[in-house]
Structure formats: C-alpha cells, structure tokens
Subunit: 293 residues, 2 copies
C-alpha cells in the first residue's frame, strides 16, 4: 500500500521525508472545558497546559496489589510466544501483555471503572472506547530503556487514528520511584507535532514494541521540546497514576534497581475519532494493538 499521508492532505503527515519538522498541533487538548467529570476546572486547565496529570492514588493500594497479583499470574502462565505477549529484547522475560481488557475479567472491570473512564470522557468531550490495553513489566535489574516517542505519531501512521483525540493512562501496580525506570514526560510537548524521518518498514510493530527505531523524534526536536518545557517523572506508590495526552513525548530509562516496576497502561480514544486506513499506507496493525470497535 502506498503512503497516503502527505503535507497537503494530512496535517499530521510523518515519515515521508529525510528531514524532521516541528509542526503545531491542529486539535484541542481538552475538547470541552465545561464537560462534567472527576476533574475540576483547574485540573482540566493544568492538563491542557502540561499534557499530563498525576494522581497520587487513583486506585486504592489494596486494589493495585490484587491487580499486581493477577498480572504476575498472567506473566507466569502465558506463552511468551503469543503475538500479544512481548518479551525483553535480551531475554525471554515477559515485558508486556496486551488485550487484558478483553482476556481477563479482573482487568476488564478496572478498565470500565468510572473513576478512570470518566476522566478520559471528560477530557475528550465525548464517549470513549479502549483503543489498547496492556500490562508493562519492567523487571528488576534488567528492565530495558524505551526511547522518546509520541504514541499518536505511531497510532496515526500505523493505525489510522485521524486526530489527536485520545489519552493514555499509566496506573502503577508497584512502587514507581526515581530508580526503577519511571515514565518520563516532556511537559508541554503535546502542543507540537514532530514529523519523523524515514519510512515505516512492513510489520514494524514486531520490533518497535521492543525497541522503536521508526517514528522516533530527532535529537534536535527533543532538544527544542525540552527547552520549551522540562522533563518530569511523577512518582508514587501502588495505585498512583499518570494520564497523558496521546501526543505527549515520553520515555523511560532502564531499571537497574531491585524494584520491579509494573503498570497497567490503557488508551482511550474518542468514539468521534474512529480509526481509518493507516496514514503511512502500511497494513493495519493487529487488533491487540489498535482495537477497532
């Protein structure tokens, strides 16, 4: 399939040239400032400006611990060769399990929890559905780093998500401290869109989930974004969470600490932003990566 994304037809065209570009966002961040929901007006304004919100206790510590026990059960029982199960680049240890909202009643329940879904609905100003769900395991001592990227750039080019009208939430099921490779975000980076260089290879997802090498922002772009904003890494105990805009630049360093880091990662997309054919012209990615209701 040929790349159908070009500057004159697609505001979020990317991976079509050998030089990167910084474009401005064409969509609101908060789609209805008067929408009711769990967040106060100030929290909505903060999210709009920063591109993320941190919640010290979005889920109770007890519930986080039982979710962790369930996650570990899945980690020890699932076949690491299944498509929707991803292992560390250098070992068989399971790094991510996708599609937990479909396969596991326990996680399905938390994915419908109004205290979580309600925030997504409020920010996106519409009904929402789960574009993707996964558990991320960052094992002690050897959890690998994940370089900077905007999820939207991939969801747009490889899943056909047309507009920036989705949010992700990372719910910590373990301690999330300075030393176990916490999620790092660039405050304010959601307002700029980095058109990346290069062209997407077929079946890019088979490698990108372990180490992303296409759709990766240039160093110069990152310098600019960090200069304009700053790097932040919200910390917290089991049950803390960070919600962030689909275009907020994020990464995480390796985990050399003895503290494994496990989180539940959910992506909510607006029902008014249904996926189309991938703008990069590649075959749509498997359903576990980009659910199409």
């Amino acid at each position: 399939m040929s790349q159908r994304s070009s500057l004159d037809t697609d505001p979020y065209a990317s991976r079509f040239s050998n030089s990167w570009k910084l474009a401005s966002r064409q969509d609101p961040v908060v789609w209805d400032m008067d929408a009711s929901g769990p967040l106060s007006r100030q929290q909505l304004l903060d999210f709009e400006a920063r591109g993320y919100s941190a919640f010290p206790q979005l889920v109770s510590a007890n519930r986080a611990r039982s979710l962790l026990a369930e996650a570990r059960h899945l980690q020890s029982s699932l076949d690491p060769h299944l498509d929707h199960v991803i292992s560390e680049p250098t070992s068989q240890e399971i790094r991510s399990i996708f599609r937990v909202h479909e396969d596991n009643a326990y996680f399905a329940k938390v994915c419908r929890d109004e205290s979580i879904v309600g925030i997504a609905r409020q920010i996106l100003g519409s009904e929402v559905y789960l574009h993707q769900s996964r558990i991320n395991f960052k094992p002690a001592f050897q959890g690998k780093e994940f370089f900077w990227h905007s999820d939207f750039e991939t969801w747009h080019m490889e899943d056909g998500m047309p507009r920036m009208r989705a949010v992700s939430i990372s719910i910590s099921l373990t301690e999330n401290n300075e030393f176990n490779g916490p999620l790092m975000l660039v405050r304010g980076s959601h307002k700029s869109y980095v058109r990346c260089v290069g062209e997407t290879p077929d079946e890019h997802f088979r490698s990108s989930l372990k180490k992303q090498e296409y759709g990766v922002p240039s160093r110069e772009a990152l310098h600019l974004l960090v200069e304009q904003g700053e790097i932040v890494a919200p910390k917290g105990g089991p049950g803390s969470a960070v919600m962030f805009d689909c275009n907020t630049m994020h990464a995480s360093v390796g985990n050399l600490s003895p503290y494994p880091r496990t989180n539940l990662f959910l992506v909510f997309n607006s029902v008014d932003n249904p996926l189309e054919a991938p703008f990069g012209g590649t075959e749509p990615r498997p359903r576990f990566l980009s659910y199409r209701p």
Copy 2:
C-alpha cells in the same frame, strides 16, 4: 598465572567459585578519626557510616566550566583507538579518557588540589597517590548504563590492591540531575564485600570498561545490600562532587535526556597500600588503569 587468591590466604578472595558470598569488610573506612583535614568530625562519621559524602560545590562552577571546555577539547582531538581512550559500546563516541593527571597540565593541577587531595588524605589517614584518573562522558540521548559493581573487587582481583584503603571522587563538570544518568550508590554497602562468581578472562579490561560482566555482584546480593541501606543519587551543578569508599556499590542508568553528563573521576590510594600482583592471578592491567608509583 594461577589464581593466588583463596579464602584461607585472602580476606577479599573473589571469582573463585560458582556461588556468590557476602563477607564483612576487614578494614576501617576512616583510618584515623582524629586526622586533620577539610572534613569535620561529623562529616568523617557520616562518611564512615554511609560510605560516601556529597559536596554541593567542591570546585567552583567557573573552574568546572573551564575543565569541561578542556575535556571537550580532548574528546574532539584524541584518537578513539588509543588504549587509554574508551568509546561507547555502540558508537565511536568517546566514553572515557584515562590518565588525564599525567597527560594534561590542566587536569594535573586539579588532581593536586589540596581541597580534594586533603579529603582523601584525611579519610585514609596517610599520604595518598593517584591510582587512576579519568574523564567520563555520558553523551545526551545515548549514554549507556553501567551495572552495579564495587571498584575494590576489581582493583583487588585485577590490580593487586591488597586492602580497602582507597577512595574515589566524581567531580561533575556539567549538570548532574535526575534525568542524565547520575551516579547511584547503595548507602552502607561498603561494609560488606561481595565475593563474585566466575573467573576473570584474560584482558578482561578490554570489555569491562564498556560493559562489565565479571566481578559483577549477584542480584540476590544487591537485594540484600539495598534492603540494608538504600539507593541514593546525589545531584548538583557543575563543581558538585561525590567522594565514596572504594568498596561502595555503585551504578548509573542510561542518559536519555538532552543533557550530556561529564565528570572527572579520581581514585586515591594510600601509600601504605601499594599494589601487589593481582589476586586473581591475571596479568597486571595497563598502567593507565592502575598506576604503580
């Protein structure tokens, strides 16, 4: 040469068996609590208990900046293939330059600075000499991680350093913040000695300076040490410094930030602790790694 280190002859025997052991330190940390010098008694007591001391401004910010300019000049002018110049595992970018106290007048001067040497002398309770000097460059975005290790375990087994009577100091020439892969230490770990598994391959230093795989503590040992103490990562601007005992467990994660991290790393050994033949029975390492006055 056969391994000359065994439990009955060497209190710090290591790498002779397939199982790790945790032994207690056999030497003082502070060799003369009444020794005069730049540190107060309380600072000596803290160093004795923690195994490190952090100095917010050991060298003036201005001096740090001119040292940084000199370091960058060396980095851009030296041949990366020289033995005493080490590049990143995955690129030609220079990671470390050794022997700067011998090769460069600028660095030679700071290495004789009384405000630095005086602390080493005071802690070790004797005259000292420079066992090793180097500049570490952790480039922005791609500076690699360095796993946990005790320098003394290597200096004992591969350089023949008999006792734990040496200290290292890392002087930051750039910002040293949470995101550019700062030095992490395990508080109190200097009081235990981890006998590592495995046997030292010949010319181990050729790989260990990029990624150490022998003389590396087991995960169980690290768990124990962190449980007994905690991981700390002192931060600071140009001119800040951390001095730590030769046996304090330390590591650093990768640098994904746009902030390069450069430090001057000096190792002072007591003149009463001269190197002998390596206890691991290997050939002595090159002089730039372990200077023998």
